[in-house]
């Protein structure tokens, strides 16, 4: 499995980058364009939406290329992290288990942070406590991931670390896992200043929803591709 890891990560990253870029161009780019129009202090009634689904995404070619490049780099980063998790676990994998990994990845890196800090369009939270909000994001992602390991994978990893069956099958890993998943939300995310800015609530709501849909498709893509690519040789 280790030999196939990096080619698999590369293909998963490219596929994930492509999927999220297409969804972003269709679902999110029009909302970002509208939000940036409002951010300049203009009135919502004056906004004229361009026709055609890819018009906004490709209105600035340089930005479109940058966005695709950074979507793909983000996809590569997440594919590396997921592949590391699969490898640490050390079990045989296939598309089906890959999609499960995709679900855990989406939960830990997209849904859980979004519960505290909903995805916002530009202008939604301007430069207030940025460092605190970034710190909370990392805390949330780390705590949720370790929580999932304790809740779901403890049987695999505790065995490898030589922890006795009596401990790993007991109640405490499950309780500790649940506490870690809940902890970032008990602490609470830092306040952002969305209301203070000129963003209508339905625009914020649509943006958060479309962002979560896009990242769900993205995580399923990298999970499915990694599951297929890493599991391929095991069947022979």
């Amino acid at each position: 499995m280790t030999k196939r890891l990096f080619p698999a990560v590369l293909i998963a990253g490219l596929a994930g980058g492509m999927v999220v870029s297409i969804l972003q161009a269709i679902l999110l780019a029009p909302l970002m364009d509208f939000a940036e129009f409002l951010e300049m202090g203009a009135r919502a009634e004056d906004y004229v939406a361009p026709k055609g689904i890819f018009t906004i995404a490709f209105s600035n070619l340089e930005m479109a290329i940058n966005t695709f490049a950074f979507d793909t780099l983000t996809a590569l980063a997440f594919a590396l992290i997921m592949a590391a998790g699969i490898l640490f676990q050390g079990r045989a994998i296939n598309i089906k288990t890959g999609l499960m990994w995709g679900l855990f990845g989406w939960f830990a890196f997209s849904l859980a942070p979004a519960l505290g800090q909903p995805p916002v369009p530009p202008g939604g939270s301007a430069y207030i406590d940025l460092e605190a909000r970034q710190l909370w994001w990392w805390l949330c992602v780390a705590s949720t991931s370790i929580g999932i390991v304790l809740l779901v994978f403890i049987g695999d990893w505790a065995g490898e670390c030589g922890i006795q069956a009596g401990i790993r099958n007991g109640w405490w890993p499950k309780v500790a896992g649940a506490v870690l998943v809940l902890l970032p939300h008990i602490i609470g995310a830092p306040e952002s200043s969305q209301q203070a800015l000129n963003i209508p609530p339905n625009l914020s709501r649509d943006f958060a929803l479309y962002s979560l849909i896009s990242t769900f498709a993205f995580w399923q893509t990298i999970g499915g591709v990694l599951g297929f690519m890493l599991g391929r040789g095991d069947k022979k």
Binding site: Q24, L28, F78, A84, P119, G159
Partner: protein
């Protein structure tokens, strides 16, 4: 796994390992199975490297101030706190 004697054996080993895992829901590494130990070291080392590389890349694309302008729309899509 590459240190093992042959490719087919590798797959047979990993399949056998997966089977025994399914049956016992644990990691019954036999103390005498040195090939397993070597493949496990290799696996854990590769996983650690992949994790470190992934986290570094994530910091640069998601959080470095230097890449803010070019990564802007991607950051909003993935809902990294951006500004």
């Amino acid at each position: 796994m590459t240190i093992n004697s042959g490719k087919t054996n590798n797959h047979a080993n990993s399949n056998a390992m997966a089977q025994s895992l399914k049956q016992t829901n644990a990691m019954p590494l036999a103390s005498g199975a040195s090939a397993h130990d070597i493949s496990r070291t290799n696996r854990v080392a590769t996983a650690t490297f992949a994790l470190a590389l992934g986290l570094c890349l994530l910091s640069v694309v998601g959080y470095a101030q230097a890449t803010h302008d070019v990564a802007h729309d991607a950051r909003h899509t993935f809902s990294f706190p951006c500004h």
